[in-house]
Symmetry: C3
Subunit: 473 residues, 3 copies
């Protein structure tokens, strides 16, 4: 690879048809500077609670915490140790950030045509104003340039939050989280809006190995003695209230499969108690999950928290990596998912209630046209979340638009919602999605499927208004 | 929304590439005036049996009976009552058609980019010559204009049948239907061709709550005392003969899953009798369904009725709506479907018979390239039906072409077949499909995959000839 | 059909957008003359072992052995007998090659828009320099022209191998194959590189009706008395060594489903012995299959043979055709497949080993973005094979690129690998795939997703380098 200028072409990602290209540019221009709403993600709030927080070196910022990036390197036989990914047992890993950076740079060709590559280059150019593409030759120069900049106050998270034009950023937080950083942020008087999201996995998944411990913590925080199913639900309600008080507008429910089925209260109580004492069987755990999803809906109906529903991800598929490095190391794999039958109990009980809102996410794209769009195109309570995770990409977003909108309509979707641990990638992701949506809508206009007036409305909807409404921001 | 002119652009839906666009126009022009064959649908024959039949007001014509339209409004929290959809219990619903129309118009933006929106605007412009797009401001003016026109003889169903250039229209009729309207139409000497289709759900689905009653009606009509499986099949044969005598060329078999498996005659007889007396179990019902599909094929082989096979639709998913408003209210949802193993017994017994014809429809698009195209590309008896229901849309038809034709070949498909209760949408649907097919074929020509001569043949095939052949019209 | 010139347009299959078209041409030009690697296929090595081998007449060359071709004719009701496909019972079939050719020519319109049609016309023009398209009128002239040419030495398989610019061609051979033709080829001193591939179906699939017999042959060839599981595995190892000595770099493992699960050695031994004596049950056969896949991986880790893994094909779906004509008659049908859970045991045991290489093929395209790309984008040992069989087509390859690369990256795929019995179609298939890849990459360049420099690297990778690396050639 020879040294190449790093250029972000102003028309990038748009169709080359002059007619579509021109309209896409106009539509994109109309939302380029629209504020960013980020109502779902995994940024650590600690970076905002300390006004003087500094990101570490370039390897710490870009590579070590980003499983999108290092999974690709790992897939090509590069050990995670050599990328500085910390081992659970504290065993030796590469500690020289420059070596880690060099390994990444040497292999940057692997990201050709991937969203990861696109986001990374956006960050290089738009955030750090780097002049050349990353390669073996340019690696260390770019390292130094970024390293230098990261030390300046302009590159503090709070400064970048403003620079990125973010209006709201939601984190995702365990039911047992103290939300201390959210509290600090609120108390600091800073005018950024960082809100928590209630994610109760740890206390509703009976198979979580820390479940009992989490129940104790939950009891402690809620000051409710948990002895049975009823006190358990009360404790959860209590926590949801706390999250709401701290600004949360949504909960995030995660399950392997979207199977829903209400248990008789007595049976839920029995399984809960068994889980607390001797532990629940696999079969009981599954039935409890199907039930607790219904309960989480019931609580959402009561307290108004929007219910995000993320299903179909087999976590920690690679046991060796999980045991050595822990979760979130690029080893989560999608599963084939069924919604029509699975969600029927939930939708029959709560789906006709326009005051309730459930946003469904899937990694199985066959659900788009077969199940999610038809369901969301009918049930008042249901919305289809955007192309998620692996599918938050150019082709992924295009497939989503082509397979969802004709049946669900645009207004039963949520517009773009990013989902990342990497704060720096947020503007890159929104820029990409706005471009792809502008291009999609431009295609509709150019083919006379919609009018240009409709197009301008739709691009505002996808970039901002739909998320604002769906997440009740 | 400001008032906008309603324009149907002459090149609408075609690619913007000048090369493709030009060819698409030529191909479309060659079939624009080709007569319409509509060999499958759900138009009520009563509108043709009375020469002076008048459609009601605009709400009765466009909104109240069209679940494509009102499901979108309902999904956004608009009660069906406010749209005038009649309740089973006769409870109060909106009766002012102007109010209903206004609600629809106020929310017409919901249909942006949907086929429903496209069909509706086609009707406005091409049938009623409306000048402006529907919105809050134009709503009542458009209402009056349509309402006025509907009173004139030019807008009677028979007049529109001619205006739409329809050559044949098939209805779908229960095995227990008297076909009285078809008889009246034939007796009237009118030269429109309205034929029935034999759809025996009510008498072959043991789980239908009216099944026993339907069997009695069947016995009455066929004048065959039904006491066992053999007399039951004879009665069905008798009805098929009647339908044939009334012009039918096809039967329509509907099942949740395409599972087929012949039972020993004795076992079929046992289950049938049990269903008649105490009722069949769920498991027996499923096995009977797998068997009766095979029997329907056997009868088709005997009497030559083409067998349409519509599977994978979970009817009346929303129990509350079903109980309040009945079936066909936008609550039918697609299921994940398997054909390769399920159809093997059927195809092994009858699939090599070129004298038999089975046309398969699915709502699970993963079947296209994985199962339907490979099967239809081999078995002489099998054809792939067109993109169905939710997928009878711009992107849906494009996905169909891209996923079916390379493996099945065009000549193992049926060309376009609409499927609607809404008589007025028929020309809109054919116009859309002819445009999408012209555009698809133009792409093949422009990329030198086929020649222009081939293209002209193919567009005639998709618009007319394939359906004529497949349905034996 | 009137007589039409047969023209292979130099820009065929490229987008009509001038920008993409121009770049595609440049990219394609850079690999047009790159040597062909064909590391997987089903060409009979006998055609190379005899230096003077002559192909038969045009029907014998193009139609009778090519199930891609005749399945389409059969699907339209043309009996295989009339196409000269030999019956197992030796019963009468058409023997006049001219009649067979005429039937094919009369129906050549069936292949419009299919890859089969494209490959065939490429052969006509590029190999035989035919001037007109095949149709009823031109049929016999073309027949004579081809028939004449086939008699000349320029059209011997060895001469064509050179003309086609093939660098390597792998055959697929049973574990019980003598590889005598491979030996002859090597001994002949001819400098073509024809290598075998170890495909052990016959000895690892307990449901194969010749299994016991195959085990005897295996014992004979390996000179190992097979009495238990351990001696059985040793015999297989022995054969793998022989294949390696004859040039093999890969094994090819085939299974209905990719389910993997290691059995305790004792249990494997028990089932193996039971299979040898009284026969294994269906359930035992399935468990043995899940186990033996793991064993084949273990052996690959030991001996370095790359493991191809072809799953999801229901062979000989049409029993009547199978009984009359045998296997490979166009009756193999795809199944719905699950990889994430099924492959977990395999990937957990061997997937982190960068010294092992498993290449996965599927006929279920839903696996691309849902499972194969996420898995290959993480596990060092896993690669995604190219669009296979029915999907080795223009749209099929485009869907593959769009659904795999963003998540897996290009470098966890193998580039193009053809898969055919029809030697003459090999250059046609590579030409098509190079064009489709050039066009795909051109789209990335034109939309500024990658740079032109990246594009030139990627087209070399897809056309040649990735296959060379993945198959260790």
């Amino acid at each position: 690879m020879a040294r190449e200028k790093l250029i972000l072409h102003p028309d990038r990602f748009f169709d080359t048809s002059p007619k579509v290209n021109k309209i896409a540019k106009e539509l994109y221009a109309s939302v380029k500077n629209t504020p960013i709403l980020s109502p779902h993600g995994h940024v650590n709030p600690v970076i905002f609670s300390d006004p003087n927080y500094k990101f570490g070196n370039p390897a710490e910022l870009f590579i070590i915490p980003d499983h999108y990036l290092f999974r690709m390197l790992y897939s090509q036989g590069i050990p995670m140790e050599s990328l500085g990914v910390p081992r659970i047992d504290g065993g030796p890993v590469e500690t020289d950030p420059k070596k880690i950076w060099k390994t990444f740079a040497d292999n940057f060709y692997l990201y050709r045509g991937t969203p990861t590559g696109i986001w990374f280059e956006y960050g290089l150019k738009e955030v750090f104003n780097i002049k050349y593409r990353l390669c073996a030759e340019t690696a260390m120069g770019i390292y130094s340039e970024i390293d230098e900049k990261l030390k300046s106050p302009e590159f503090s998270p709070r400064a970048l939050y403003k620079k990125f034009n973010i209006e709201l950023l939601a984190t995702t937080d365990a039911a047992t989280d103290t939300l201390e950083h959210h509290k600090k942020i609120r108390d600091s008087g800073w005018n950024g809006r960082i809100i928590p999201t209630f994610r109760p996995d740890g206390v509703i998944d009976l198979s979580d190995k820390n479940w009992k411990n989490n129940i104790e913590v939950l009891a402690g925080f809620s000051k409710i003695t948990i002895t049975d199913y009823s006190s358990y639900i009360n404790a959860i309600k209590n926590r949801r209230q706390y999250f709401k008080a701290m600004g949360a507008t949504a909960a995030d429910i995660v399950a392997l499969y979207p199977v829903t089925e209400e248990l008789p209260q007595q049976e839920a109580d029995r399984i809960f108690k068994k889980a607390l004492s001797e532990g629940a069987s696999q079969e009981e755990t599954n039935r409890f999950t199907a039930h607790i999803i219904m309960e989480m809906v019931r609580l959402s109906v009561e307290d108004g928290l929007v219910m995000q529903f993320h299903v179909g991800c087999y976590r920690n598929h690679n046991r060796e990596v999980f045991e050595k490095f822990g979760p979130d190391k690029g080893c989560d794999m999608p599963l084939s998912i069924e919604f029509t039958k699975s969600l029927q109990p939930l939708l029959n009980k709560y789906g006709n209630n326009p005051g309730f809102s459930i946003i469904c996410f899937t990694l199985d794209e066959t659900n788009y046209s077969r199940e999610l769009a038809p369901l969301a195109g009918h049930y008042p309570a249901m919305k289809v979340g955007p192309a998620w995770w692996f599918h938050d990409s150019i082709n992924g977003m295009q497939r989503y638009r082509q397979q969802v909108i004709e049946t669900a309509g645009l207004y039963n979707t949520t517009g773009f919602v990013d989902d990342t641990r990497a704060f720096l990638s947020i503007p890159a992701r929104h820029d990409l999605s706005r471009r792809i949506d502008a291009n999609w809508i431009a295609g509709l206009v150019a083919k006379n499927i919609i009018t240009m007036n409709d197009g301008f409305e739709m691009i505002q909807d996808t970039a901002y208004r739909l998320a604002k409404k769906a997440y009740r921001l």
